[in-house]
Amino acid sequence: MSSIETPYILGIAEKPQAARRLAYALDAKNKPSVKKIKNISVFVCNRDNKKIVIAPAVGHLFTLSPIGKTWNYPVLDYEWVPSYTVNKNARTKNFTDVFKSLAKGAKDVIIMTDFDREGEVIGYLILKYLIGRTDAERMKFSTLTVRDITQAYDQRDKSLDLGYLNSGLIRHYVDWLYGINYSRALSLALKKVSGHFKTISIGRVQGPTLNSVVDLENKIKMFLPIPFWTIESEAILDGKKYKAFYEKPKIEQQKEAIKIINDCSGLLGKITNISDETSYQYPFPPFDLGSLQREAYRYFKFSPSKTLQFAENLYLKALISYPRTDSQKLPMTLGHKTILSKLSAQNDYTTFANEILANKKFKPREGKRTDAAHPAIHPTGNIPDNTLSASERKIYDLIVKRYLSVFGKRAEILKGTIDIQVNSHKFEVRGSKIIDEGWIRYYKPYFSLSEQILPNVQLNSDVKFSYIDSKENFTSPPKRFNESSLLKRMETEKIGTKATRAGIIKTLFDRGYIAGKEITPTPLGESVVDVLQNQYPILVKSEMTRNLEEIMDDVENKKKTLDKTVFDIKSELKDLLILFHEKEEEIGRSLSTNLRLSQKSELVVLGKCQKCKKGELRIIKSRKTGKRFISCSAYFDKEVKCTATYPIPNTGTIKPTGKVCEHDGLPIIEWKKGKRVYKMCISPTCPSKKEGD
């Protein structure tokens, strides 16, 4: 099949775009020839009188599959198989065939996949199962620039790093073993009791993550607010009004608040102290993946998985460094002067890049975290072309400005306070003045400081207040997670990895366990967690998965061997599954009950739609917001596309009554809240409601 003259060095790239960049960088004339094999572009380069053929994968070409056909558990034996044999949607067959055809003529092999655990596994499996070897040379690069690629080629390792490879492999084995066994166990437990089959999938990281969401939701549902008071006041200084802060930010008793107001009833105070203090705001550290995802969410409202996708696209276009990094370090070897010089050629960054270059200070501010494989995320300096999407441009701008800001000087702020005494009570007026914006100029609009300039006042002078009042407040329930804060929670709990956390959250959405921008568990998610918390808590606690992460780190550090570790994990899993099996019927019964209750609230048919006369009005729950409402089934009918919708309360249970409203012919529903039952037309504007019916 391959018409390329042998022998050659075979390069394994992770993706087609990466293969192109690698080839253009490595070819001595930067003009590799392109051959089509099975419709896949394969690049032929010449370098140092050697022929290098670079072929791409498209991510993982192999997947784990159980040995044996019975759908039962425990499943402890597995094998690697080509993805397309298991997943009909995986478009990997041609890529697989290309490597098979190129294997024979390959004198040497270089793995050129992204330098991380997944890249290592991708390259190794192709090497082993398609080329028939177990070792190869390895290129390590953090950007897809010509400089980094050629350097990585010249300094390539003579063989694979087994520790790194094994830590990638073991992660696959553990995730697969736990995922497949517990998903089967739960699904079979349900089937045993109910007779119905429904796939209940759960993974070792999904379980604890979902549990965090459910636990928080329960705390919110059980929340009882407690009153407290704050003293609100405004002082008049030099003819202008300034907010003044009372010495105690929170007053727990109403009588104390009343006493304070009574004591200050004259609204006249005296200035007892005036102070100034210079404070400094240092630049934020360079982006690691987690902080980039959080910042992109905060400013653009991009989900973590979308941010990662945009960042990966920027990396493949050689505009930024490898985004899957934990590092907050930017070593000097990256050549900051060169990067800044290149950035100065881009109009948006010319002024600031030139300023930094003129200062000749190229030591960036760094954070504490490191990553053995890659530096912090930074721009390469290459100029973006017009293939960037609007979203990619936003992420690019954020990364560049963050990079520029770490070379900026600290911001200097003068913080002033004026203390005012009213009887025995102390108030404080606070001000700030920006002396030097420093790095903040480079990072706008993503961060800014506000000013409040204080007037010149005299010590011991009198001060009038426009008001001193007490305000009643109530404690608030905890805030729900959003995708960014849930990601942060996973980082804090040390579950998942920088590369997998965003994907885990997306999986929970896709499987219908969670919903909404303010994330709430769905009835399905609540059901599953409720059963597991009571019957089999190990699947929803972080400890198990955290311990597994530590074991996997030991494999990477070569403190433990891969085979022995896999053996131990399988033994432990087998014991856990025996425990599960003993409780299978009980778990199945609880799941069945909970799921029945959760499904009941999900689809209720109320009656015929009066707008289109074709569809049925049903209560559905929005996957996006988690809120329920009434909509017409003919919305999905392409010819009809009925847009009739009606709002309904989100608490209590709603049932159809079988009756229609005499005013507008719409269904009348029964809404039960506790022991109160209300009957009402679904239309919020129905005349019956004005009549007080």
Partner: protein, 47 residues
């Protein structure tokens, strides 16, 4: 939990009747948890 909350409210206000406490909780939109609200409604309307 409702009783414990009442004790906190008593400390905060100095004096408040049980009925007023329940009525205030019912009026606090968006702050009171769903489960608590159902218990309060039951206590207020039916007990």
């Amino acid at each position: 939990m409702l009783k414990k909350g009442y004790e906190s409210w008593l400390r905060a206000y100095g004096s408040i009747s049980w009925d007023d406490y329940l009525r205030n909780l019912l009026e606090l939109e968006g702050l009171v948890g769903e489960f608590i609200k159902e218990i309060v409604e039951y206590e207020f309307y039916f007990k």
